[in-house]
């Protein structure tokens, strides 16, 4: 699980860039599974699925479009998704990023946690690790 420490965040968007590179091999921040939303002049927030144990989203989905992967992560079956974003509304951490239609779920880069590695402000951390 990744933790977001807002007071450290500088709003640099590097998490989005590296996320899109890791998943798509190119820079495509609008498809990134993590998204920084600014609140000028204050720092805004980073939206992403924490892969929290509560999984309120799974209960909220009216189409059973969310399932658990073999790595025990919540993932979306795009075929079943009706874009209602009830999952995002149910998220206890705020809301989920979307690609304009579907919600986007963090897959931890298969345990590589690239956003955590590249965050220059130490605003993203792996829970249980003090310094990554």
């Amino acid at each position: 699980m990744i933790k977001y420490i807002r007071k450290n965040c500088t709003g640099c968007h590097i998490c989005e860039v590296i996320c899109s590179m890791e998943h798509f091999g190119k820079i495509d921040t609008k498809s990134a599974l993590i998204s920084y939303r600014d609140d000028w002049p204050q720092i805004g927030t980073v939206e992403f699925c924490r892969q929290c144990p509560k999984r309120s989203c799974m209960g909220a989905c009216p189409e059973d479009a969310l399932y658990l992967t073999s790595e025990n992560l919540v993932a979306l079956d795009k075929e079943k998704c009706i874009y209602c974003l009830a999952c995002s509304d149910a998220c206890p951490f705020g809301s989920l990023p979307t690609d304009g239609k579907n919600p986007l779920y963090c897959d931890t880069c298969s345990g590589l946690y690239q956003c955590v590695k590249w965050c220059p402000a130490k605003a993203l951390k792996k829970v249980g690790e003090k310094n990554v």
Partner: protein, 607 residues
Amino acid sequence: MSKYPGYAGYILTIDLTTKSHQISELPRELVDNYLGGKGFAAKILYDQLPLGCDPLSPDNILILAGAPLTGTLAPTGCRTILATKSPLTGIWLDSNCGGTFGPELKSTGFDLVVIKGRADHPVMIVLNYHSVEIVDAAELWGLDTFSASDRIKEQFGDDYNVAIIGPAGEKQVLMSAVQAEARSFGRGGSGAVFGSKNLKAIAVRGTGSVEIADYAEFIKENQEAYNEIVINPDTGGARPKYGTSSIYSFIKEAGVLPIKNFQGGDYEGNDQTDERRLKKELFEQDRACFACPIACSKYSKVKAGPYEGKYVEGPEFENFWSFGAQCGNSELGSIAYAEYLCDYYGIDAISAGNAVGFVMECFEKGIISEDELGFKAGFGNHEALIKIIQLIGEDKDIGRIIGQGVKRAAEHFGHESSNFAMHVKGLELPAYDPRGSVGMGLAYATSDRGACHLRAWPVGAEVLSHHGRLDPREVEFKAELVKTDQDWFNIINSLGLCLFSIFALGHNQITDLTHALTGRDSFSSAKKLLVIGERISNLVRLFNIREGITTADDTLPRRLLKETLPSGPSKGVTVPLKEMLEEYYLVRGWDEKGVPKNTKLEQLGLK
């Protein structure tokens, strides 16, 4: 999708007169010979701008130019160039802006947006991925940049990024700026060019992506670059802590900080004023531009005194000076508020502060009276500072005169005030007194857009450097230093990097980042990039010569050439410009009149 990794791949040309547009592919020769950003803009403006056109007429061309490293992982890769013919100087202008506007513009699929003509009523341009709309903006006309920007986001969505003018640009105030997400295309009056075209704003939101030529290599080069930035004492230490003002004490102690319109001496509160005070009294939160690990930007809020509750993203070093020492003013709240007002009205905060200092000197010398002004305006009068900024923004009274720049204002006021109108080619000087760093004198005199600290920065080698330091009063090597800085800074401004990156990143590192991203043989060595940088310097020089610039314009205000400072480390010094300038022309391969020789142009493929 772009044919070229690192680039969006397309040029958008908009004619506001006919409300039509064209989309064309980015030509290969433009990419290989001009790299991006400033280079692209130089080539297009040189080729397409009608000779001698009035900068505020429909004939002038506005260019927004993205760059290969913009919007990528490359540290500080966020910047975009705005280029046009400056209404303030009548010559070349490029102004570059950080934040998030540039990356968003790139994701609309356009590396270049070329805007021509003039709309018959106020409009805004809305860009999405490969789509263009010209929308009525009558309801936004008259609004400040913040309110108008908010309205646009309410209408189109808060994920739009907006470049916008305020009342100053609408009224074609010659020192007006274009604001983009609370950052600025500040210098040279680009806001007035927007205004002259009835263009209130450009709103962008895209879904485009950028390909990477060598993924593994790009990751590796970025890892190295990020490490360099973290371990560097500037980019990893002082700058994140104190913002752009981290150099304030060094500049002041070296006798390079201009005081009271470059008269020197002292003012109340000067001793206690430095970057530490700024941090302690104002800074609340670090903010970073897109892809920047440095985060030099600060959100500041005034906690006590007459300006309590005022806030700004800043103050930046330049404005800490321009509204501070330049005006003999140590009231930090007023400095923060003055910068906020410049963002609000859309005014260049360097030119504005410089101009207020000029008015204050005129006031103290009796050239302008209290009767004429309606208020007292001696040095240190922070209420006058705020009043004058408001009047510039509203284009009223003294603001109507001084908003057109100190060159024109001095012609208006007379009484030899032109001797202390601190500009080069019509652009107001920034925060370095070249009598404490003579190389800066050559940098100002030869900068392609008029007095500017971002075309060459000899003060780094003359004052701030620990190794390879050059004597700040000697002329030796200054021509070479200025030339190589100018050529390399052209590359930084064509790649989309912030100049602060080069405190930590060397030529080879930046080249490797560029080559890994683009995969282009033409960018495979720093030497090749420097040739492109030199090509841009020479093409822009040709542009300026075509617009009437001669060697007589490559000069400095009389004060810097004839008057000495009364005290401090720079006491007794004037700038030995003539000697440096002759050497500079020689090093550049230009003749004694400052015109590039044919051999140089042939060597650069410009003949």
